[in-house]
């Protein structure tokens, strides 16, 4: 049984009015009716740089539980040490999963509904963060199923670990967050953060000892619903046809100096 729901103007106005600080420039359109290119054109405009005085901060419309500032990550005594637990930690990453957006929320800057996203973290893996970063760059901004396939083709430990992480995140999206089509998600973020170093030692000649570093990392993954962007960079890379067009335009734009 399928039911057709039509959005009316009043509903659009009510949806937009949840954020009074920033007025919506775009009319509210269903995200399915827009193509992937149009969606990402709208989202790319958010990255246009602005002066700080021209910036308008959006009001807080979401609900999230209180963050306990006094809780120390290592359960140490004394004052809270900001150098411990700085950067991204699994607790902070998991906190994003507890944010509740208002009903029928539409992002005012883009006019699109808030895409569903899943934050997942694999903790304390004995691996090099630099090599894991290369695997994360491979699947960054790639469709979930395609990412799993690509990682499966690469027979490397980094790719195997990241593949397991993405599979777990995908199953979590379906089971825990009840997302209807997990295959239509893409890897919005994937990055490793070094969490621990265990120091070892190796003996050399003449009573010389050198340190061996066994590094442990957390792997952070964020899946977002919707089509994947076409390029990883901020702007699409130019191919040969684009260069040819530019050269042709240059040739045609030439004029003879001091001509009649």
């Amino acid at each position: 049984m399928l039911r057709v729901l039509v959005r009316t103007g009043s509903e659009a106005c009510r949806a937009v009015s949840t954020s009074t600080a920033v007025l919506s420039v775009h009319p509210v359109v269903k995200s399915e009716d827009l193509s992937a290119k149009e969606i990402w054109d709208r989202r790319s405009k958010l990255r246009v740089p602005k002066l700080q005085k021209d910036e308008q901060l959006s009001s807080k419309v979401y609900f999230a539980p209180e963050w306990d500032l006094e809780k120390k990550p290592n359960l140490d005594e004394g004052f809270v040490n900001p150098l411990k637990g700085y950067g991204m930690t699994p607790e902070k990453w998991e906190y994003y999963n507890k944010v509740v957006w208002p009903p029928n929320y539409i992002v005012p800057e883009t006019g699109l509904p808030k895409p569903k996203e899943v934050f997942h973290c694999k903790e304390s893996v004995h691996f090099s963060p630099k090599r894991m970063w290369a695997a994360c760059q491979l699947v960054w901004k790639m469709n979930v199923d395609e990412a799993i396939t690509q990682l499966d083709m690469q027979q490397l430990k980094a790719c195997n670990l990241l593949m397991d992480t993405i599979k777990k995140a995908k199953s979590r999206a379906a089971d825990e967050f009840h997302i209807e089509y997990p295959s239509q998600m893409y890897v919005a973020d994937a990055f490793p953060v070094q969490s621990n170093i265990v120091k070892g030692a190796r003996r050399h000649a003449h009573d010389n000892w050198n340190t061996i570093r066994y590094r442990y990392i957390h792997i952070f993954v964020r899946l977002e619903e919707g089509p994947a962007p076409q390029q990883k960079q901020r702007h699409p890379q130019k191919n040969g046809w684009d260069h040819m067009d530019e050269y042709y335009n240059y040739l045609r734009s030439r004029t003879v100096k001091y001509s009649i």
Binding site: L5, P103, K116, E123, S124, V125, G200, Y214
Partner: protein
């Protein structure tokens, strides 16, 4: 070369393990004594000869120079979380830990207990709305007996006991219904706004544990439009917690027939259940509770009763919004209906007649 190697292996067996192998590679080296004896190299650009052979000799020796330490296991917390108690016991035994003597429980469970309310509904019985037929004699007798017993308990274990408490001497059930409706509306409003202070005022701890997840992992929109029937008290009960301690707690079940709008949204603002625009007539049996052992006890929403005699709920029909393409496809595609069988037969007969003509 072969003879020289054989001689070396016999004369100096220890040297063969630690000295790199180097042999003559060119026939002209015989004229050069330095190259023949190995003092100089024929190809100076090559740093080390027979690297693959020599490296094989030295790899184990280099590995022996590394200080071995016990590294923490990858993703230990993840694996431990997925283990069953039996597997956990086996794992601890592998590590040489006595699981009963030296290990502690994985999770330390704490819970706050309050004696201001009962964690549950004291008497979830609700008499049926429609009395049974007189034909079924046994069931009818049981039903009448239960109704009379229920009414007796309403007085004996309910109203009579409440009026003995200080501050409740003039308690009247008839005036409670209006108050109940107000508490009901205030409770849902507080839930909608996630106002914990107001929720603790209008909702008991038992109800809070059931209602708070709806607004912690999503949103709720509720609006009471009108009351279709006057609310009616169905049951009054008074119990003490702990038993026979004098810490009396009263519970009243109210039947409410209301018209309301209820919509439940998920974490991203998507609609899960109900509607924000459509009204719905609802019959509910709402339980209110009061700690009457204290003079300043207040009535709070405690829970809802789902009667046994009610019809089972229908499953939710899954609906989804159609995109423009799907709408066009739906209109464009025409399907042959399985109906109109007789008409099709008549058409077939007509065609046959035309063919015969």
């Amino acid at each position: 070369m072969l003879g020289r190697a054989l001689v070396r292996s016999f004369v100096q067996p220890t040297a063969a393990i630690t000295t790199q192998l180097a042999g003559v590679h060119h026939h002209q080296e015989a004229t050069d004594m330095k190259r023949f004896t190995g003092v100089t190299r024929s190809n100076k650009a090559k740093a080390n000869r027979n690297t693959h052979v020599n490296e094989k000799l030295f790899r184990r020796m280099r590995g022996r120079k590394t200080l071995l330490i016990e590294l923490p296991e990858d993703s230990a917390r993840e694996k431990e979380a997925e283990m069953s108690p039996g597997e956990m016991r086996t794992e601890l035994l592998k590590r040489g830990i006595n699981p009963y003597k030296e290990a502690q429980p994985r999770v330390w469970n704490e819970a706050q207990v309050t004696f201001q309310s009962i964690y549950g509904i004291a008497d979830p019985y609700v008499p049926p709305e429609n009395p049974g037929s007189f034909t079924d004699v046994n069931n009818k007798f049981d039903e009448v007996k239960q109704r009379i017993q229920h009414k007796f308990y309403n007085w004996r274990m309910g109203t009579n006991r409440i009026r003995k408490k200080q501050g409740f001497e003039k308690f009247d059930i008839k005036t409670f219904c209006a108050k109940a409706e107000d508490i009901y509306v205030q409770a849902h409003r507080a839930l909608e706004q996630r106002d914990k202070t107001a929720m603790y005022k209008y909702i008991t701890e038992y109800a809070f544990a059931k209602m708070w997840p709806d607004v912690e992992n999503g949103s709720v929109r509720f609006e009471l439009i009108s009351v279709l029937e006057p609310s009616r008290v169905v049951a009054v009960r008074c119990f003490d917690n702990p038993p026979k301690s004098g810490n009396d707690i009263a519970q009243i079940t109210v039947r409410m027939h209301t018209r309301q709008k209820l919509a439940v949204y998920d974490r991203f603002g998507g609609l899960l259940l109900g509607s924000e625009d459509e009204e719905k007539d609802v019959v509910e049996y709402v339980v209110f509770e009061n700690h009457i052992a204290v003079v300043d006890g207040e009535w709070r929403l405690h829970g809802k009763i789902y009667p046994k005699w009610i019809d089972a709920k229908q499953g939710m029909v899954g609906t989804q919004m159609l995109s423009a393409e799907q709408v066009e496809k739906q209109h464009a595609e025409a399907k042959a209906l399985p109906l109109r069988t007789t008409e099709k037969l008549e058409e077939a007969k007509k065609e046959k007649e035309q063919q015969e003509i």
